[in-house]
Symmetry: C2
Subunit: 413 residues, 2 copies
């Protein structure tokens, strides 16, 4: 089964928007065993959309057209598909009513051109909208006597995601005769490189290659961690989940403490959950990161139950006057420990984490850029570490955030 993608919109060619929709669809299609071999961008020109679509559907089993379904005169996807099908556009009264109701429910007058969105090529089926006004379309096309299909979806990502899963994927699976189900699970790791993870999982990967399912892939995600994704294909969702349970446990047992979470979690949510479970509050003393750790922590709704605050002591005098750090160099483990003790005292927290380091470009206190001293003080003890982190200023700061939160997780977890 092959399904190519045609993204429509002059703004895509002009670089005003990057077409990330086709990449997303390519990833989904691949996960479901469907090839996507050609992905094209064209502008809002009905002649070019029509010619390109005609050529693409001749070479593929299916084509998804993304964008060009809006209400204005330069939204031309409907016209192009009708031309390729060789049929007329007719008003779908159900869709028209839904659009009228949507405007009425918001107490707004409906501009008449919105009814353009109710036009449907004769013979096409509608993928109902649940979030906007433009419906999706499922359009059967016969090419030299072969039954093929053209889909149309809006270019607004969250509308497209929804219609892809609800309308396109089931139709593609029906057409391919593939009744299997695909499900994936992502394990989040920190503390080892991609090649290092690969080495630790050598045996698992060899066994998975023999078994065929699930597949395993690595996905580097910066300061969100390095992801290990298992994707299982089986007859039912229950079968998928059983497979995923087995291999999830296997991967965790190989990687041990490197795994810090899974789908829907993040390093900061895991750390907050851990502290909440112990009934401990958190305080921070930040220098090199300037507030980035607190910003990440407070990005999680409900963090106020655990997080008390942060003393961002960027100037050395603030480290001394507010946190009580002794005279002398400030990029050292002993300064980090004093910062953590000071933050715990000033903020009244049970646990305190402190970071001091050199983001660059210049060195400081004789320490090169990339140096991070991190300290942790908690009800049962204290510790400090010096790390050498890669990257220029911003990457070094981001890696400081996840590395120090990971130290907290592994120490008190």
């Amino acid at each position: 089964m092959r399904c190519d993608v045609l993204a429509v919109g002059t703004e895509l060619l002009l670089g005003q928007i990057v077409d990330s929709n086709s990449a997303w669809m390519g990833e989904q299609l691949a996960a479901h065993g469907i090839d996507s071999l050609v992905q094209v961008k064209v502008g809002d020109n009905v002649g070019r959309i029509t010619a390109m679509l005609r050529r693409m559907i001749a070479e593929s089993d299916a084509v998804i057209v993304c964008g060009g379904l809006g209400p204005t005169h330069d939204d031309l996807t409907r016209e192009a598909i009708a031309a390729v099908m060789g049929v007329e556009l007719v008003v779908d009264e159900g869709v028209a009513d839904a659009i009228r109701e949507l405007f009425a429910s918001r107490g707004r007058r409906m501009p008449e051109n919105n009814l353009r969105q109710a036009l449907v090529p004769t013979g096409a089926a509608v993928i109902a909208q649940t979030r906007g006004t433009a419906p999706g379309l499922i359009c059967p096309v016969s090419v030299d006597g072969v039954d093929k299909v053209v889909f149309a979806v809006p270019g607004v990502p969250h509308e497209m995601f929804d219609m892809f899963e609800r309308g396109i994927l089931p139709e593609l699976k029906r057409r391919s005769g593939d009744a299997s189900v695909i499900s994936s699970r992502t394990l989040l790791t920190w503390g080892e490189s991609e090649s290092g993870l690969n080495e630790r999982l050598d045996d698992v990967i060899a066994e998975l290659e023999l078994a065929g399912s699930p597949t395993l892939a690595f996905l580097a995600s910066g300061w969100n961690g390095l992801k290990v994704r298992l994707t299982a294909k089986a007859a039912t969702l229950d079968d998928c989940n059983s497979l995923l349970d087995v291999w999830d446990a296997r991967v965790r047992s190989e990687l041990g403490h490197l795994v810090f979470g899974s789908d829907g979690e993040s390093m900061e949510s895991v750390v907050l959950d851990l502290l909440r479970s112990k009934g401990w509050s958190l305080g921070l003393a930040e220098s090199v990161t300037g507030g980035l750790v607190g910003a990440r922590i407070t990005g999680v709704p409900g963090s106020s139950e655990v997080f008390r605050g942060s003393i961002v002591s960027y100037a050395s005098e603030v480290k001394r006057s507010v946190l009580g750090v002794s005279d002398g160099p400030v990029v050292t483990e002993s300064a980090a420990i004093e910062m953590a003790r000071g933050a715990r005292r000033v903020l009244g927290s049970d646990v305190a984490l402190a970071l001091t380091g050199v983001a660059g470009p210049a060195e400081q206190d004789g320490m090169p850029p990339g140096t991070l001293c991190v300290a942790l003080v908690w009800p049962d003890g204290e510790l400090s570490r010096t790390l050498r982190l890669p990257g220029l200023r911003e990457q070094m700061r981001q890696f400081s955030v996840i590395s120090s939160l990971d130290l907290l997780r592994r120490t008190i977890g």
Copy 2:
């Protein structure tokens, strides 16, 4: 002149990487008056690359092929271009020497397959590498007796940017007979919507449309501000700059204090420069933003000359114990003023900025999500404001950062 783009790489179709290169090239081409009407992604398959390239060059004056120039067996762009040109690949000794020298200068052994990157179709010119190993290619192609050109550049963005400007653009301009120069300038604004800016610039836009150059475009960039870009086309760079000077001044006079900076600046760099020019240091008291303002400020190298630190007082008790905020609700202007006074005292800064608000999802102190109370204390006075910001949790926090820094800029500037 028309120049289409062919991005090569299976990882693009699988969604492992989003193809942002073609969007960047589309933007550059448009700025130079060159149409890009079709942009395509194909995988690492020599038959498909060749067929697609043959079709694309038949319909366009030029095609840029991006990616597939690496040293491994699945880097097939060179082979595809040679097939379309109907010529052989031959080793370019100059390129081969440059690759050998690059490895030698890094003290590394050169794997033999790197010499694949020295293969050049007969008749093609080389765009020398300055950053990596794979050179770019300029390949003349005759289609039905018409002279056309195929370019090849690496998919690594910074290598591609460099070769595009140095090798591709001059060749396209030579071929189009266009000797003009294009230059642009970006003004950064905050405090008005895109439609609001449009309205204020109605007369300017009408005059620019008559004049033809420069052109004016708006570019929404989240918490980096709303950009107004002027792009001038003229015989020389000096002429461009004269035009840009005139219209830059005109736009600034219409928009007044809404303009906070231009190319190479950011809200935080502008605020830091302003404080530095006055000899004033900065302290912060953050609540709703959790450290985000300090993180932005300290992202600017050299910020330590001005920035002393931040008291991230997320818990109400910390607002009271560290900053001296009175009992009572904490999302109010009077609490914000007390936070700013407290930060100024504790951090020993000349200026202090304080933010307290509700990011949501729940309301707090009877205030709805989106409420921001901001206060500023500086050597000449104090002020506070209540703002209603749009967006969900993270967007509200980001808008809080730029809006409060903008208040500081406009107050002390």
